[in-house]
């Protein structure tokens, strides 16, 4: 029922939009895409999407609407986020042309482009007049995630950034403020360094445990490695020595960050050493931790926005409505970790249509609706999203939320993206796992660096240097 209502509303919106655009003479990118896609009515495209709730934004909203407007059937193919890469590469090797639109994490862009798995899009962008609307994407995403070798290879579609969520009620509590100052000699406030984060974490844990702990972060190895990447660079680390291409993640800075990551687990809930996003989220929503670092969605769910939806049944009811503050993760520049872009598979039998679907979902008009779907897991990435009056009124301090997100987008740092990125991430992930098992940080990082060097040698030092230099030259690769 809900769905029908929504569809109806969207159809109305589309009518209004059509009227607006015809009035303006210049048709919107969405409208152009729909008109052009109509000639493919009756055909089907396969779209790879990270599995889970996030895919519902496609399955429930975008795909049916596109079919209704154009007669093109959109088949959403799901794979777990970390496996999407494997599936895309394997599918390319299998060569069945099974995928038309490919979702990708921007850090895979280099590999997918070099291997010829995704198509350059410049001609299609020109042909269907998408260039103007692409300019509306936040510069950090547009300048870093879109091109390889000077060509447009993927369209940024998700403004991921690591945020710090904290409990305002606890931070503002006068008793806490007084006790904290007495103990640490400075005011209790949102941490801007990891040292402060640690002080505050210990303070809350010592004050409230076992009912509440200072903080919780995702320790699942494949995701935790992003935290290392972020903190290592904020502390002044460089991944490689450009001359030798030796890995430097085991230098003094790397070991210090690794040690911090390990020590912080001490004030987090006992047993959280292997927590996945869901466990962290559950502890947060049920009010058992004072701070978390996470991707943007908990900001929405903390306020109960959209969690009455059937698709979000698995989200425990929020006990912390109205008590949540937002900040960039400490240390300066937050990582634009993960994030998703859309690209056209070079094996696709209908590249033009695949592109049109991307242009349509990514357009100003449709993307604004998508980033507001409670279950879509797509976070604001266009200027118009951050500025949307509708979004800013979704809950009491939604405007604060969007401001912090935007700030993050402006100064955020990229995930490392070179050749065989996946193997470097995998090696780093294993190191994180060992840290959480309490092993010696120096030893752990030495092994990780050795593994990195091995991958570099296997890839070819010169080839890798070229890829690294291209990446490192991007404005958001290292803190400015």
């Amino acid at each position: 029922m809900n769905k029908a209502k929504r569809l109806c509303a969207i159809a109305c919106l589309a009518v209004v939009a059509t009227w607006l655009t015809t009035a303006q003479a210049q048709p919107s990118a969405a409208q152009t895409a729909i008109e052009a896609a109509k000639q493919y009515s009756g055909s089907t495209i396969n779209v790879v999407w990270p599995a889970g709730v996030g895919a519902l934004g496609q399955k429930v909203f975008a795909a049916p609407l596109f079919e209704q407007l154009t007669g093109v059937k959109v088949n959403i193919v799901e794979a777990p986020p970390t496996d999407v890469y494997i599936k895309v590469v394997a599918e390319h090797r299998a060569g069945t042309g099974g995928f038309d639109v490919v979702s990708l994490v921007p850090s895979w862009l280099t590999d997918l482009s070099i291997a010829g798995i995704i198509e350059p899009l410049d001609e299609l962008v020109d042909k269907y007049g998408f260039a103007a609307e692409l300019q509306g994407i936040e510069p950090a995403y547009r300048n870093n995630w879109m091109t390889h070798g000077g060509k447009i290879m993927a369209i940024p579609d998700d403004g991921d950034v690591l945020l710090l969520f904290y409990r305002k009620d606890l931070f503002n509590d006068p008793a806490n403020k007084e006790a904290f100052k007495a103990k640490y000699g400075y005011e209790l406030a949102v941490p801007t360094t990891w040292e402060q984060f640690s002080d505050i974490g210990w303070f809350f844990t010592n004050t409230y445990q076992p009912d509440l702990y200072g903080a919780s972060v995702i320790h699942r190895s494949g995701l935790m490695q992003y935290f290392f990447q972020e903190r290592f660079r904020n502390a002044g680390g460089r991944f490689f020595d450009v001359d030798s291409m030796d890995a430097q993640i085991n230098d003094e800075i790397g070991v210090k960050v690794a040690t911090q990551l390990q020590d912080e687990a001490e004030f987090m809930p006992p047993g959280s050493e292997n927590w996945n996003p869901v466990e962290v989220l559950t502890a947060w929503l049920s009010g058992r931790v004072a701070m978390i670092t996470w991707w943007p969605p908990p900001g929405r769910w903390s306020e109960g926005y959209g969690t009455d939806n059937e698709a979000l049944k698995w989200v425990p009811e929020s006990q912390i409505k109205g008590k949540v503050g937002y900040a960039l993760s400490p240390g300066g520049n937050p990582e634009l970790a993960l994030g998703w872009s859309l690209a056209v598979s070079s094996n696709s039998r209908n590249k033009e249509l695949a592109y049109l679907y991307i242009q349509w979902v990514n357009s100003e008009e449709i993307s604004l609706q998508r980033v507001q779907l409670p279950y879509s897991l797509r976070d604001p990435f266009r200027a118009s999203h951050f500025e949307s009056a509708e979004y800013r009124s979704r809950w009491d301090n939604a405007d604060e939320y969007l401001d912090v997100l935007r700030q993050g987008a402006q100064i955020g740092m990229l995930d490392l993206s070179i050749r065989n990125t996946f193997q470097y991430e995998e090696a780093l992930a294993r190191a994180m796992q060992r840290l959480m098992a309490g092993e010696d940080p120096q030893e752990v990082m030495n092994e990780a660096a050795a593994n990195w060097d091995k991958v570099t040698r296997r890839t070819g030092v010169d080839k890798q240097r070229a890829a690294y230099e291209e990446w490192a030259a991007k404005p958001n690769a290292y803190p400015q």
Partner: protein, 281 residues
């Protein structure tokens, strides 16, 4: 004499009680994790992440299953059942024929028999990548027929090995008298041998079915989307940013139930099936 007798009896019944208690304890140990995954599937999100753990939820929540159904998450169960069923049927048909040839003619001698059973024991993951490339060439990756053929092949050594035993149990005299009456080989197979090994085939089939239902290594490499099996889907949930234990547990329950039922029904043949025919229970 009498007093001694009754003491002996008492001792015996005490011993029996101790043994019963031990059996009870052991069963509890072996069932506890199974119980836990079943009950997790029926808990609310709050109860799943409750501290301390909840042994008996206040109310059974079947929403996990309905929400999985409406999200289209149950197709892997269907895929597993379909692939397991058809691969089992194929393996039984092909395998019983081969078993007959092996049992009655000793075709290929000991070497062939040993080669066949040794295939059952190779590590699947060591075979999966060449097969992936081969399937990719044929366009069989992520197709039903690809996986069905593969699972049939993987189960074949087992089926041949066990069915060989069942065929050997068929009295040779019956076949001989049919032959004297002028029946052809195929007729003998169909009218004499088949009715006598039918139960054996059923028992063997149950184990082939279980193996195919539970298989993971091949499926994880050779399926993507359409033919995703439930074991692979469960592993996907581990990698997800957002899915909860409720769905892992839900899928585990739905995937295990057919196997549990099959085993309970085929209790009589368990020993023979599991020992690959070595013990005729």
């Amino acid at each position: 004499m009498n007093a001694q007798n009754s003491r002996w009896k008492r001792q015996k019944s005490l011993k029996k009680a101790v043994r019963f208690a031990l059996a009870l304890l052991l069963t509890a140990f072996f069932l506890a994790p199974v119980y836990w995954i079943f009950i997790t599937a029926l808990k609310s999100p709050e109860e799943i992440f409750a501290v301390p753990a909840v042994w008996f939820p206040e109310q059974l929540h079947f929403e996990n299953f309905t929400s999985m159904f409406s999200a289209g998450e149950l197709k892997p169960i269907f895929n597993s059942l379909l692939v397991a069923t058809f691969s089992t049927l194929l393996a039984l048909a092909v395998g019983t024929l081969a078993a007959y040839s092996l049992a009655r003619y000793r075709t290929g001698g000991r070497a062939l028999a040993v080669w066949i059973i040794s295939l059952r024991m190779l590590p699947p993951i060591a075979l999966a990548f060449p097969l992936f490339l081969f399937f990719a060439m044929l366009g069989w990756v992520d197709t039903y027929h690809g996986l069905i053929l593969l699972y049939a092949a993987i189960n074949l050594p087992y089926v041949i090995w066990v069915m060989r035993g069942f065929v050997e149990d068929v009295p040779l005299e019956l076949e001989e008298s049919a032959a004297i009456d002028g029946a052809s080989r195929w007729q003998i197979l169909w009218y004499v041998v088949f009715p006598l090994v039918r139960m054996g085939m059923l028992a063997t089939g149950v184990f082939a079915f279980i193996y195919a239902m539970n298989e993971f290594a091949f499926a994880v490499v050779l399926t993507r989307v359409d033919v995703l099996t439930f074991t692979v889907k469960i592993s996907h949930y581990f990698g997800n940013q957002t899915t909860s234990w409720a769905w892992i547990a839900g899928l585990a329950v739905l995937g295990s139930l057919p196997v549990f039922i099959a085993v309970l029904v085929m209790q009589r043949y368990l020993v023979r099936g599991m020992s690959m025919g070595a013990i005729k229970g």
